[in-house]
């Protein structure tokens, strides 16, 4: 199993009454009213420090997300942090992957720049880049970046094709897209990995995204939020493996990754004492404090998809208050406790979801950097070694990991221009 350290870049000092004073942690939350610039500096510095700390502790990769105009993740472009981490890990000779889980292509208005930045990162890191191309959350793609919701997925498809062509075509080519046009595409540098870095897509449950990942042999990252996350994830992975069978795609677990918040302490009780308030911060002041209309905008989801989603929502209305630490731990939305508890839960999950990749989120909400390091320490020494051997029978065919780090070359399906589209 490959275990990646992932975290947001949150502002960790929002006031306690944030939820009652402000509608949301994105788009409208007032910056100058809420922020001390010195603390922003400190938080960004801490986030990179913690990622380096995790890299030194032996994680297989360090990952970055992308969310614009948000206080729960001050990370408008993951390539920025990835550049710093690529260089620092080179300097220290750390053999870890640089995983930009979020470089949203439904959002990007400069797809050629994405191709260039990612190729540059791959060269700088010596072929350690893993490229994640999610669609982008509605508030980010449609509100922050101003893309009409009904065009998000079409833009994704076009940008995806351009980037894969820009990486792999030997000769300069003109690109006449609907959303961007370039008379001569010939980026310098091209990626170091051949044919190109492994590519993944992130889904939140839309079956079209899952199907696209299988048809194009892309890595598939699943992110789901809320108390019901484990049940939802189980259903989505079950559907994924059923779909793989229907499409006659192999069931190699390495194609699947799940983002999981994990907090470890000496005992279960100690975990609650140390982490509860920071997890609850994330729920009431962070990613948990985003209204539903920021995740789904008219036009972004087809009528058929709407019917399915709204049908579910109407039969199971969502809770109006933020869940507590205990509720999250009880449901498994947050895996928390002693090393033994956490090991067991993560191993069970790896098998029941059939995932070969874990995206372990170890910094949550307002967790200060010392506590984050403590969590990384315990996880990397007491948990990580016990997860490594899971799915080892598939290690020789991990096409979703850089060759330099033990992976196999990616499938030619990833860059196949005649291949399936996201739609």
């Amino acid at each position: 199993m490959k275990v990646t350290y992932i975290h947001h870049y949150p502002y960790r000092h929002l006031p306690e009454d944030f939820a009652s004073r402000y509608e949301e942690s994105v788009v409208t939350n007032p910056y100058f009213e809420l922020v001390d610039p010195k603390l922003v500096h400190e938080d960004l510095r801490s986030a990179l420090d913690e990622a380096m700390y995790a890299a030194r502790a032996g994680f297989d990769a360090v990952a970055l997300t992308e969310h614009g105009q948000s206080s729960y993740d001050m990370n408008p472009n993951p390539d920025l942090g990835a550049a710093a981490l690529a260089y620092a890990t080179e300097l220290e000779g750390i053999e870890t992957g640089i995983y930009t889980v979020g470089r949203s292509l439904g959002k990007s208005r400069e797809p050629l720049r994405v191709a260039e930045e990612q190729a540059w990162l791959d060269c700088l890191s010596g072929g350690r880049l893993i490229s994640g191309f999610p669609v982008g959350l509605a508030y980010d793609a449609n509100v922050n970046a101003g893309v009409p919701p009904i065009e998000t997925r079409a833009r994704y498809d076009e940008n995806f094709e351009l980037i894969l062509r820009a990486w792999t075509e030997r000769d300069p080519f003109p690109f006449n897209g609907r959303f961007s046009q370039y008379p001569s595409v010939n980026i310098w540098p091209r990626p170091m990995q051949s044919p190109h870095p492994p590519v993944s897509v992130t889904g939140t449950g839309n079956p079209n995204t899952t199907r696209f990942s299988l048809q194009r042999d892309l890595g598939f990252n699943l992110v789901v939020l809320g108390v019901a996350a484990p049940n939802t994830a189980q259903r989505i992975f079950d559907d994924m493996w059923r779909m793989a069978d229907e499409l006659e795609v192999d069931d190699n677990p390495y194609r699947a990754a799940y983002a999981q918040s994990v907090v470890v302490a000496e005992t279960d009780a100690e975990a609650e004492r140390l982490y509860a308030k920071h997890v609850e911060y994330s729920m009431s002041r962070g990613v948990g404090h985003i209204p539903m209309h920021r995740f789904a905008l008219p036009g972004g989801i087809s009528p058929q998809g709407l019917r399915a989603l709204l049908g579910q929502a109407m039969s199971a209305p969502t809770a109006q208050t933020a869940p507590t630490y205990r509720e999250l731990v009880e449901s498994g939305a947050v895996i928390a406790g002693s090393p033994a508890t956490v090991r067991e839960r993560l191993a069970d999950q790896a098998h029941s979801f059939r995932i070969g990749q874990l995206l372990a989120n170890l910094q949550i909400g307002s967790m200060p950097t010392e506590l984050t390091r403590y969590n990384i320490d315990l996880f990397s020494t007491e948990v990580l070694p016990h997860l490594r051997g899971i799915w080892s029978e598939y290690d020789r065919d991990n096409r979703w990991w850089p060759e330099r780090l033990g992976g196999r070359p990616v499938s030619t399906k990833q860059a196949d221009l005649t291949g399936a589209r996201l739609k």
Binding site: V147, P148, P298, G299, M314
Partner: protein
Amino acid sequence: MTTTSPNQAPAGEQVVATWNNRIRLRFEIRGSGPALVYLHPAGGLFWDEFLTRLTQHYTVYAPVFPGISPDDTFAIHQLDDIFDVVLAYEQALRSLGLENVPVVGQSFGGMLAAELSACFPKLFSKVALLDPAGLWNQEHPWSLEFISGPPERLPALLFKDPTAEGPRAMFPPPSGPEEALDQAVTGIWTLGCMAKFLWPIPDRGLAKRLHRIIAPTLIMWGEDDQLIPAAYAQEFGRLIPHSRVELVPDCGHIPQVEATDHTYTTVTDFLADGYATSPAPRAQSERV
């Protein structure tokens, strides 16, 4: 392609192939008398009291925007921008013989009526714009919150008094869960289709084109419009040569619903000819 003389068109509906057969534009047709084109707002087509009263004197042709009919949702993907829409509509109207006829457009439909008149100045004999979209400037910013915001805020954005009878009739309670789901799916997708031509700032350069409108134009605006500020009424008036501005007191974004009598009377008087319009006094009108 079916061609029918507008004066003989039966009540009901007619589907017109347009845009090189990529769009089948459905017209709902009601009433009797001379033809009138009605272009609906971003929420879709509702035969409210204003429209129903118009059908007593006119044959109202109301095209339903491509993509929002539940049986043809993919049609929206055939139209990339507002000029595709204008060309597809013009061709459809022409094929029905609907030329030199009056048009009434509400909000998004008002923007579309203005675009059509600016691009094809002889298409419409008279133009009535009710709180039209299409202009935007920094002094009076307005947003697409009616699409991007929480749905429960919608009534207050649309109406001065959302509790009045007319506004409440716009949001009828569903008869059961099935209908609630149908309403939600259709409502959300409709806004999504229309958003394509408004997003993210509802300005496609109409201000540059309004001077081309030669038809007499009536601009009506709810004084208390919370969605598109009434300041834009004067701006439309300033930019359209033969135009007149009528502000509607105690009224929000949809005068035809919130001030039905006033709107009906003003629009039908305007359409009934003899209605003097003159170039707006440019020197006196301030730029909004």
